[in-house]
């Protein structure tokens, strides 16, 4: 059964590998809670938001509770 499927898909085996790229990109976006085409964050201190930002410019330094 699997061998039959493999033989059937053999002509497009390179395309099968190529498919892993967009699917992997989707999985990466999902696991890191990213929007693939970029989000709306304009803050330079949190453009790479995975590490805690240092307080710098922008409105964020004001009005902390």
């Amino acid at each position: 059964m699997l061998e039959q499927l493999w033989n059937f898909l053999r002509p497009v085996r390179l395309y099968a590998l190529l498919l892993l790229l967009p699917l992997g990109w989707f999985a990466w976006g999902a696991t890191t809670s990213r929007r693939l085409l970029g989000d709306d964050n304009e803050s330079t201190e949190t453009l790479n938001a995975s590490s805690p930002g240092h307080r710098g410019g922008g409105h964020a330094r004001f009005y902390h509770k």
Binding site: R35, D39, A60
Partner: protein, 440 residues
């Protein structure tokens, strides 16, 4: 009493009746017509009577003449063979002029004592052999004429008469006698059925597409010396067609997997509303006109790193609002910022209601770490109209459909490209025919 068979000679020679040049021929028993490579005389010689000159091909020889010279040996379909003749033909147009020239190589197979033809037109090769049967043509006089054989439909591709333009070598029939024949070609790539008929008889041939590299290999010619292909051959198979079922299945599987992953993601972390608040913009009299006081939302807690969607709805009435927003982590001071320009105008003109812009806006912030947050708003609106109120809603783990659709489109790119290639292939094939769907 024993009977000893006389072995058939591999070749023999005869002198051209015009120029006396010795011509070597290979189908010693079968050939009766010859075209001299030296003076281009075309004559008949049956071996008994004197050669009878029938004509002369004084026109310019085809440029591909040197590709497979007369006498070239090779192996075609596992059979040893030899090039014994070459005919350049042309289609006879209705106005009596010649058009669409092609070459036909006579390939003699001594082991089986039969012939095949190798025809080449615009770099596309076919091997032609007698079909040894006749076929019934449906709707024969129409442009929908077709032959149906074993579930395959061969569609009419061309009808024509031909003329010999140039020839060299030996032939077992009078090539000039073909002038009276009418040809009809029916195709089901990679096969063509050729009907050849005159008043008295009807003969069918079967032509199969053969790749130039296969011809080159068969006759030990450098592949680079083969004539370049132009367009798509009449029975040139579509390489994409064979991959379509597998491509369709694989793409379907990938799209299904993507959809499943999206559904699982939504189920694993369903969208959760963390904040829903109504804030009223208040003018800051100490600042420039239009500047509102800074608004600070109540705090909310994000339990795990996630994307946040912030939905904003402003009660605007014929005014605009520029709204810089900061999301501030109260424990680390980490900040995220975005700005939304919201404007909404409406009115009545000539009895028609109109509106422009929207009161809603939203933003997505990705990779927001777990923690306690609040939002700061720095509203700026045009002075004069009533200060608007802002309804803010913060949703954690929004379904990122943009991710889904971006990848969805990427997955469809290659199948779409192949679909266009396939359509282009068929279009190019039928562009060479008077019977294609685009000429209907």
């Amino acid at each position: 009493m024993s009977d000893t068979a006389t072995p058939r000679p591999e070749s023999a020679q005869l002198a051209c009746p015009e120029c006396g040049t010795l011509i070597t021929y290979y189908d010693v028993e079968g050939s009766e017509y010859y075209a001299c490579a030296s003076c281009h005389a075309y004559f008949k010689y049956s071996g008994e009577s004197k050669p009878k000159v029938l004509g002369n091909y004084k026109s310019v020889p085809p440029p591909e003449l040197g590709l497979l010279p007369i006498g070239t040996t090779g192996t075609l379909a596992g059979q040893p063979c030899r090039v014994v003749g070459l005919v350049e033909r042309a289609e006879l147009a209705r106005n009596g002029k010649l058009q669409y020239r092609w070459l036909e190589y006579q390939i003699y197979q001594p082991v089986t004592d039969d012939y095949a033809q190798l025809a080449v037109f615009k770099g596309h090769w076919t091997v032609i052999r007698p079909a040894k049967q006749t076929f019934k043509v449906k709707s024969p006089s129409t442009r929908h004429a077709r032959v149906e054989v074993s579930g395959e439909t061969y569609k009419i591709y061309n009808r024509y008469q031909s003329r010999v333009v140039w020839a060299v070598g030996e032939f077992d029939w009078n090539i000039e006698g073909d002038d009276q024949l009418r040809f009809a070609e029916y195709i089901s790539p990679p096969t063509m059925l050729i009907q050849e008929r005159n008043k008295d008889r009807e003969t069918w041939y079967r032509a199969e597409h053969i790749e130039p590299r296969a011809v080159a290999a068969a006759f030990n010619v450098k592949p680079g010396d083969m004539p370049a292909q132009d367009g798509v051959g009449a029975v040139q198979p579509d390489a994409v067609r064979a991959t379509i079922p597998a491509l369709t299945l694989l793409t379907g599987l990938a799209l299904g997997l993507l959809l499943l992953a999206q559904v699982l993601l939504i189920n694993r972390h369903p969208p959760t509303t963390l904040l829903s608040e109504n804030l009223q913009v208040v003018a800051d009299t100490a600042a420039a006109p239009g500047t509102g006081r800074v608004l600070v939302s109540p705090s909310f807690t994000l339990g795990h790193q996630a994307a946040l969607e912030i939905d904003l709805t402003a009660t605007l009435s014929n005014q605009w609002l520029e709204l810089p927003v900061s999301l501030v982590n109260e424990q680390t001071g980490q900040g995220f910022e975005f700005t939304k320009n919201i404007e909404f105008y409406s009115g009545v003109e000539s009895g028609e209601n109109w509106s422009e812009g929207s009161r809603d806006a939203d933003a997505v912030l990705a990779q927001v770490p777990a923690g306690r947050y609040h939002l700061n708003f720095y509203p700026f609106t045009e002075a004069g109209p009533a200060a608007p109120a802002i309804v803010v809603r913060v949703v954690a783990d929004p379904a990122l459909w943009s991710n889904f659709f971006v990848v969805f489109c990427l997955l469809l790119l290659y199948p779409l490209y192949q679909y266009i290639r396939r359509a282009s292939h068929e279009t190019q094939r039928w562009n060479e025919s008077d019977y294609g769907p685009i000429n209907a």
